[in-house]
């Protein structure tokens, strides 16, 4: 898998695409593949304060509950309501299935995250696919 270079990644398998002071968050293809069929996504409400590194919601497969961690701090401005009725969309295309949009608290924070190349390397080393 070649990861899109238009965004940054975390070791917890989230991606974040920043555009100035706004950003969009989702989970990576590696994450959806590791989870298997996704049946439930729980996301924060608009206005919620996200703290980098802290859970922002959960994604559930048939077998397990997994936390989604905020790649950066900020305030939630939009939430993808489609995932409530179609959580399987994340399996189909994780990189197009955005979960949360936010206004970044510290726009520079995103630059410290992993590049696509670094994330690919990290996944390969972790014993990933």
């Amino acid at each position: 898998m070649s990861y899109p270079t238009d965004r940054k990644y975390t070791k917890q398998h989230e991606w974040i695409q920043a555009n100035g002071s706004t950003a969009t968050i989702g989970i990576t293809d590696h994450a959806q593949e590791a989870l298997g069929d996704i049946v439930f996504v729980e996301l924060p409400k608009v206005g919620a304060e996200l703290v980098a590194g802290k859970p922002l919601g959960t994604v559930e497969s048939v077998k397990a509950v997994s936390d989604i961690y905020a790649p950066a701090s900020g305030t939630v401005t939009e939430v993808n309501g489609e995932l409530a009725s179609s959580p399987e969309a994340v399996n189909k295309d994780a990189h197009s299935s955005w979960m949360v949009k936010l206004t970044l608290k510290n726009p520079g924070e995103v630059d410290t995250l992993l590049s696509a190349a670094d994330y690919e390397k990290y996944v390969a080393e972790e014993g990933g696919h």
Binding site: E33, L35, G36, T58, V59, V62, K63, A64, D67
Partner: protein, 384 residues
């Protein structure tokens, strides 16, 4: 995302382990066994597809991790009657029954399928996680009977072929007339060229299906597995892992040891009355069960369906509509065929009426659920 599981170094493997890994299965440590939890989406699998395949057509499972204990000898029946709560004297040769081994307190050592293989020969098929405990229990509690007790657990590769097209698939591979084998009966026949193979019309999926017991060497096991995959192609047969095994048995309200049944839960609480023959004058646990029946159950196992958004999972608390803790979930999961989120739970009997509203505590919040009839799923009756 939270952590990914890894398997412990001293884990046990079935003879088909390399086959599962070669097929790209996601592996998990299940009670010390390295087992497939699901097969890849790239071959049409994944828990949901595997579950649906069993409900609509056919799927196969490697269940070799289960254990096998044979009791044979002039007093084999007496031995079985002493340790098993169901009435094995009702079994004709070639017939099987669901039962349980109980402790003197009337709680569960394990659940079991008792097969009568011959005049004085019985096979108990037991859970993977309780292999050693069960064997020791059976051996230690039947010493007074003229009966040999053998642990055959490592002798068999056990493959379950489950679903409405299971019979069609297996029939292509055997000379045994499967149409003559009723549900919960067994036969022997040549399977994939192997002679005298035990074929049982049993399973843990709430569907029609068979379980075959073949020699446990890797080459034979792989050959048979692959022949079944080929024979099943026309029925869209898929390999299935423990993930689907769990969702299938849950829809059918079939107990799982350590969840619905355990050494602290008795037969009445678990609702397994119909498999417990109190008219038998003696069996381990009978006296305690009689007392317990007179005292009345303090908790009962019932089925829940989520009415608000959320998935109830194993161990989650059950609350009454006022938010007070009343019990706990033994097994909870999305149900792929029913397309609902279901659970089994222990609560006091006063909450047992179908339609009762309760809540399940999910990450600190009470989420609405209601009591529903069980089993959640029953396979359709075959048209005559």
């Amino acid at each position: 995302m939270s952590a990914v599981e890894t398997t412990a170094p001293t884990v046990r493997k079935t003879a088909l382990n390399a086959v599962h890994r070669q097929m790209g299965a996601k592996m998990v440590d299940f009670n010390g066994w390295d087992m497939p939890v699901e097969y890849p989406a790239s071959i049409g699998c994944g828990i949901i597809n595997e579950h649906m395949a069993v409900r609509t057509s056919v799927g196969i499972f490697d269940v070799s991790h289960m254990g096998d204990i044979r009791l044979a000898g002039p007093q084999a029946l007496a031995a079985v009657q002493h340790i098993s709560m169901n009435d094995a004297s009702r079994l004709a040769v070639g017939q099987a029954q669901y039962s349980a081994l109980l402790y003197p307190q009337g709680t569960f050592v394990d659940d079991v399928i008792v097969h009568r293989l011959g005049e004085d020969e019985y096979l108990l098929v037991i859970n993977a996680g309780t292999r050693e405990k069960d064997f020791n229990w059976v051996r230690d509690n039947t010493r007074q009977f003229d009966c040999a007790v053998e642990n055959l657990s490592d002798d068999f590769t056990q493959i379950a072929i489950q679903g409405p097209k299971g019979v069609n698939t297996l029939q292509k591979l055997t000379d045994a007339d499967l149409s003559a084998v009723k549900f919960y009966w067994i036969t022997r026949g040549t399977v994939c060229g192997l002679k005298n193979i035990l074929i049982a019309r049993t399973g843990y999926t709430a569907e029609d299906g068979f379980e075959i017991y073949i020699p446990a060497d890797e080459a034979t096991s792989a050959q048979v597995w692959n022949e079944i995959l080929s024979a099943g192609k026309e029925f869209n047969l898929v390999p299935c892992g423990l993930g689907a095994r769990n969702t299938l048995r849950l829809e059918g309200k079939m107990p799982l040891y350590g969840h619905e049944i355990s050494d602290t839960i008795n037969v009445w609480e678990a609702g397994l009355d119909r498999f417990c023959k109190m008219e038998k004058p003696e069996f381990i646990g009978r006296a305690a069960l009689e007392k317990a029946k007179a005292a009345g159950v303090k908790r009962t196992l019932l089925g829940l369906e989520m009415t608000e958004r959320g998935i109830a999972r194993d161990g989650y608390k059950v609350l009454d509509s006022g938010g007070r803790e009343i019990g706990y979930v033994t097994s909870g999961s999305p149900a792929p065929f029913l397309k609902k989120n279901i659970a089994l739970a222990y609560v006091p009997p006063e909450f047992g009426a179908v339609g009762t509203s309760v809540k399940v505590e999910i990450r600190g919040q009470g989420v609405g659920a209601q009591v529903v009839p069980t089993p959640f799923y029953k396979r359709p009756k075959k048209k005559p």
